[in-house]
Symmetry: none
Subunit: 144 residues, 2 copies
């Protein structure tokens, strides 16, 4: 469940998207760390990075912040092959992976055609809020 319901916070009538979200030191630090380090990073990596920077932030807070950012669509979340959640600063295009069965070498590929197709198919069946996962497996040239 991705419930986003929050208690009747009477505070209404202020910032649009940021209703009830406080820009605390920790949140800024997490968002910042993720911006500085590009590419995908796990919550634990971010936590460690913050520690090295001296900006100590609790692990639980890092998890919460990362999740909130992902929910808000400000960052992308996907899962590594180990099943760990990894995040990256948003903006880059949505893409898929072409993975080698033997060595694991991965190539990121884009497919506007696929994006269009999935949306069309879902639409055709009346499904809304579409998302999808696509992974391609094969044996890379070096492993042939």
């Amino acid at each position: 469940m991705t419930s986003t319901d929050r208690p009747p916070a009477g505070t209404a009538g202020k910032g649009a998207e940021l209703s009830g979200v406080r820009p605390t030191r920790q949140r800024l630090a997490v968002a910042d760390a993720l911006s500085d380090a590009d590419g995908f990073h796990s919550a634990q990596e971010i936590h460690e990075l913050l520690g090295r920077r001296g900006e100590s932030v609790g692990l639980a807070t890092v998890y919460r912040t990362l999740q909130r950012l992902a929910d808000a669509g400000e960052i992308d979340m996907m899962r590594s092959e180990d099943g760990e959640a990894i995040y990256r600063r948003c903006s880059m295009t949505h893409h898929h992976h072409l993975v080698c069965r033997s060595c694991g070498r991965t190539v990121e590929v884009e497919g506007p055609a696929v994006e269009r197709w999935t949306t069309a198919i879902a639409d055709e069946h009346g499904y809304a809020e579409v998302s999808h996962t696509l992974e391609i497996f094969g044996t890379c040239p070096d492993c042939r």
Copy 2:
């Protein structure tokens, strides 16, 4: 008592992939369960299914068997949105699933265009023996 007995040294050198693999009841049961239930299933689901069937198999064994099968390329493994490992029997008709996030209602869809696209992309990067997984998620009309 070491070099006296020598296991089937070059016994009918054909069973390449199955070197040292015994077709035990448990392994057959797991492979069977996965074949019967199509679609993706987690190790725990398979374990539970086997339990219901009366074919009791240890959880650890299910994990090991599934992993071995995946390594051998006999089944596909990917990760659910929760990060859990899910497997499916390989070699079934090429179709994908359009799943409803709320009620789970699933529609099987085919996409020759996607098949062609994935093959083309893989080819372009020199990858051979291509296979892929694609799942589409959305909210079905009844759940809107």
